[in-house]
Amino acid sequence: MRAAIGSAHAEIALRCRALGYEFVIRCAHPELMAHLGHVFGSLEDPAADAHVYEVQDFAGWAQITLDGAVAVDNVRLPDVVEFIQTHVNLAAVVAPPPRLFLHAGGVSSGLDAVVLPAASGSGKTSLTVALVGAGLGYLSDEALAVDPDDLSITPFPKSFTIKASGQHLFPRLGPAPGTLAERFTAPYAWHVPVAEVRRDCVGTAGCRARLIISPRYVAGSPTEVRPLSHGEAMLVLGQNSSSLRALGDRVLETLERVARSAPAYALTFSDLGAARAEVLRLFEEVR
């Protein structure tokens, strides 16, 4: 985090990059800024300087401006992180250059990646956290950028967003009582800094899919994997992409190349530990 002294108060700014989207967060509330720095620190890029989010605190309620225009008003302080994170996620997906953006978790070992495309609520983040905790590199818990030419993956190592439904799986990652995290965290989503799962865990840029697994949490179900055909894999990848139109007439060609680059499976699970073991077993098979 970098600090600068303003005319009337200490102004602190955090400069970040989310894929091709550069942004700066400024906040005159030192404790909230410290928390924002903790949550967004894994995206820090001292050279970033484009869009500016400015958070102003009005007696417990915040106003957030983006590039000088009011983006949202009367936000509770615990909702500030959620607002900025959501906005950054959306902006990162539309920022150039055109890429295949997958709504997917991603983990890696060296230059080999496991891509976990799935809809919201499927257990994608939980499985990603579990795999990073098991020693794999972290690429993203919800947005992977795939270069349509060489199929390389650019990491987007945002903080982990653990929704209420998955928080019981990771009690040690919750905000500790009496901390800034507790004060500025809304109960519906923990934004867990990457280093709190495992230090120095961000995966390598330029890795490529070696395994595609579409996870789906189903309460009470056994752990089952079903191989997907290339066509089914294309469908899963495409249904979990928010950028297909940007690829123009390369949509099907790009999806097919990704689908053919790695074996693909549908994974149904209710036991996170068993699901993690199954992914690790399949990853070991293909490496």
Partner: protein
Amino acid sequence: MTGPRRRDGVASREVDGDVVLWDGDALHLLDPRAAAVWLLLDGRRSGPDVCRVLAQRFAADAAQLEADVAGLLAWFAERGLLADDGQYGDSLPK
């Protein structure tokens, strides 16, 4: 034009016997039998023509085949994948 026709702008790609369609908004996966029907929808063949061609390729009960083709044409139409020529309605298998 006398029969159902694939809408212009729907991209398709054959992948191991399946066909994946991209209509500019959504993807659709066709299994080999649905893909065979899709590839025959050139606007020159009527629904019954499509059934006759398929009957030569697949060992299937004629009534079942007609029902399958009718169902698939309706499925394609519901998803906006067919050209809106207004020409093929009468050509659907009854």
